[in-house]
Symmetry: D2
Subunit: 283 residues, 4 copies
């Protein structure tokens, strides 16, 4: 059987995908494929190999029933270049393996994320946590320049401190969190989906979403069937609360819902499961 590879993934291996003004995402390596998920699951389920269609059905079953361990069997290694404030959000995901450049060991290069005027967002008045909507053009113009100048000054101060003989580990004190850093990031598919679910969400900051989108495109090439199941159940799905389900139960007719589900092309087993979520054990 040997290594499992996917042609669509092989063709982009080692190719940096640009993100933001100077960052990138690069697929360094991967291990496993949709087929590996099926192999691993069938250690648990005792069966042999099957057709692509049956594989897709099994992967969808595993995803929607939250049998997550087979998805852990696929592993990805990325090389990332991103601003420090993005890396800070990224590293809150604790299941990954990380190797980052050290600003104690190396002099950091003069590379900052400098948002263009139209990439600057206004503070949302409704949601304290997010930026939302454009700034007035002249304000955006000024702000973008202000940031660029601040970055230039900060880097000059950094250089001056280094020239005075201040240790690198201390001179970096003055470098802003918009500075680019680089890291290797190794993560399994289950936890990668969790990362994507959170970081593709509209609540996530625009900048890390840009990285999440680049990574999603790569993952989709490596494991197309698993990615489709992820889109169907996690990314495009929603967690409804007990009270919301009760409201729906009062509102809709099971038979009408059954027909609406069938009209969407769902298989009988999926239709039955969908009905059970709202109306409980049926039959």
């Amino acid at each position: 059987m040997a290594h499992l590879t996917t042609p669509e993934a092989e063709s982009i291996l080692d190719t940096p995908i640009p993100v933001l003004d100077k960052g990138f995402v690069r697929l360094v390596d991967y291990m496993g494929s949709d087929q590996r998920i099926v192999q691993a699951a069938r250690v648990s389920y005792g069966a042999g190999t099957k057709t692509v269609r049956e594989d897709a059905a099994l992967i969808d079953y595993l995803m929607r029933h939250r049998h997550t361990s087979p998805f852990e069997m696929v592993e990805f290694t990325f090389h990332i270049k991103a601003p420090i404030f993005v890396a800070r959000q990224w590293f809150r995901h604790r299941t990954a393996s990380i190797n980052e450049v050290s600003a104690r060991y190396s002099v950091m290069p003069d590379e900052f994320y400098t948002p263009a005027p139209d990439a600057l967002r206004a503070q949302s008045s409704k949601n304290k946590q997010v930026g939302e909507g454009p700034l007035p053009p002249e304000v955006a113009q000024t702000a973008s320049q202000t940031i660029a100048q601040a970055q230039e000054r900060a880097y000059q101060t950094y250089q001056a401190l280094l020239e005075q003989g201040v240790a690198r580990e201390l001179a970096r004190e003055v470098l802003p969190v918009g500075l680019y850093t680089e890291f290797y990031w190794k993560q399994d598919l289950h936890n990668l989906f969790h990362f994507l679910k959170l970081r593709l969400d509209w609540h996530a900051q625009h900048e890390i979403r840009a990285y999440a989108k680049a990574i999603a495109g790569i993952v989709q090439r490596v494991v197309p069937l698993a990615y489709a199941a992820f889109e169907e159940h996690l990314l495009g799905g929603a967690l409804l609360s007990r009270t919301e389900l009760a409201a729906l139960r009062n509102l809709i007719d099971p038979e009408a819902y059954r027909q609406a589900l069938e009209a969407q092309g769902l298989k009988p087993s999926r239709v039955r499961e969908a009905l059970e979520k709202i109306f409980g054990e049926t039959e």
Copy 2:
């Protein structure tokens, strides 16, 4: 501020709660409370202390928006006695800390899970994974005796091997997985909720569900507000897929759903979020 304790939890501290025929769950210690969740979240949200009502609202917000880290701030230590096959399912949850009795070091006592006739279940014909429904009474009677006798014989063989001088680590080879074992189990609230979500589910084996129920009762005493949010959003909720949401979108009228949600007593912000799950960003 010092240690945070909950009177309802203090009263059951160190009291074994019986589970199955010879097992138990005992709360050894806990750290934190609903108030700690709020404290920890407000490091992130920069505000001061609030009323119980506002705490409940914040905890519900954290739960439904999957801001999981504040729930990790509450920690539980249990002492568990359970059959090996239950412990095997239990230990698949890898985030906990565990100390189990060692059958290399100690002679295991003669204690087995021996299901009474009415605790025996038939193999489900629909679902390969589960036992379902009672056996005919005389079959159940015989099977229960068969199990008890097999356990007795196995333990006699174990003793005979020990008497012949066979090392404990090898003599235990003949002990069946129905043997009781004991372990300390330390887990944080976020991962405990994950454990409960999976192990209270009807797909979980009856025996581990019995332990999950005992643990749920304890957790509810320690963090009543967090447990209520868990019940509303995770335990009593359901993950609807993209296709199921599309079927609902075709089927129901937003205004009628709004009224059904309000009839359930949901606050305006919750109603708005519920509508967005099905109909997307509204206005």
Copy 3:
């Protein structure tokens, strides 16, 4: 039995211990004690309660034989205020639970780590990774002022961007990594010892060592016996390689080493183990 507390720890609960110019470490809560380590280990070892002296012997045994799971049974919650570059090193320890203030949600206060002239270190010429030795006084004076001015300017720019309506999540771009942040940090004793081993080491950056020292002082109060074992075996010990052991084997006489070990007051079982490390299984 209930909660286990240690008077020496109770007296400092909730008291911020100052670190660096504006930071602190505050013990928010803890669960367990030396006695809990023993309780948990004895689930594995099947024995009853013992004297303090026997507890100390068992804890030392667990530590030197790397039976790490009982140490996981003790848990600590800290509230930390530290510069971002220190937090970045801190968060590489992935087993902890963390809640940090959000610079998306809150306006960050004007607080920076501004090393006084005598806290500034020169770049080491021997070790690329570390700062080492003082700078010439006038250079240190200038550098300290340079850093303070850069911080002041950066904060003014941050304020200007906020006033122009730029979203907080973007305005923070210009804030340097010397800015103070705050976080809740929950960690178990085993992983805390690992943190301390790495961060008390002289290779660690001076600034994070200052925090590690404050934490070590707290831990020592909560679990004095375990901390003593940590000092003896991990902190004060050293990992000798196979080749180094071979060199020692050629150099020293077992009997002389036995006497030197006994002169240090080691018990016979510890002497035997020490001899085995260098000379292998002795009879």
Copy 4:
């Protein structure tokens, strides 16, 4: 650059290596190599590619200074067949990903670990935890037969319960922990070394050591340089306590130790580090 493979590893990919009487270890896949460790470390260390000799020196440096994250960049997937009591020890390592056959879903085959007479060990009188030394031949003969008969009887009871319609999840109650199970096991190199350090140790039970040896042989083929560093520093090394170092300091002359270390062929930097472990910062 693409995928990194090692010819010595490719030749054994997918080949089951027999362990015990009916078990095996099979390398399903791997990602990375010695070169990947170096690549990942150099993200941190900012340099380009080097010769094999320089790679070996860097890997040894990373290992002896416990810079463990680059070793996490290499990943292995194994398919294992082992008795349940071995799997129980194995699964205590919580960083791996695991898919095991389910005795709820599948009827377990009639395969047990049946130690031959000369594989049976007597209970150690010195160490409560281990089996040690052979049994008298006729005792071993009898004990081996006793075990085989007990296994046969247990399996017959299992079959009888299944035939009576008892659910698989309950019928398995009577199956002893000597039954073989199978699982996929995915682990990174850093944690794999930790597993090997513990499970190759003479304190580990003979049966899991047999698996650890098979895995060690495979790992050595995939990452020969990293494995050599592991043998030198972790597997063949020893952790000396503060008191043991003090005894050595009193006993030996630094200059004589220096010569003994040089006689072992250690490079000057390694000699200096070795001296510092015992005599502290020199010069």
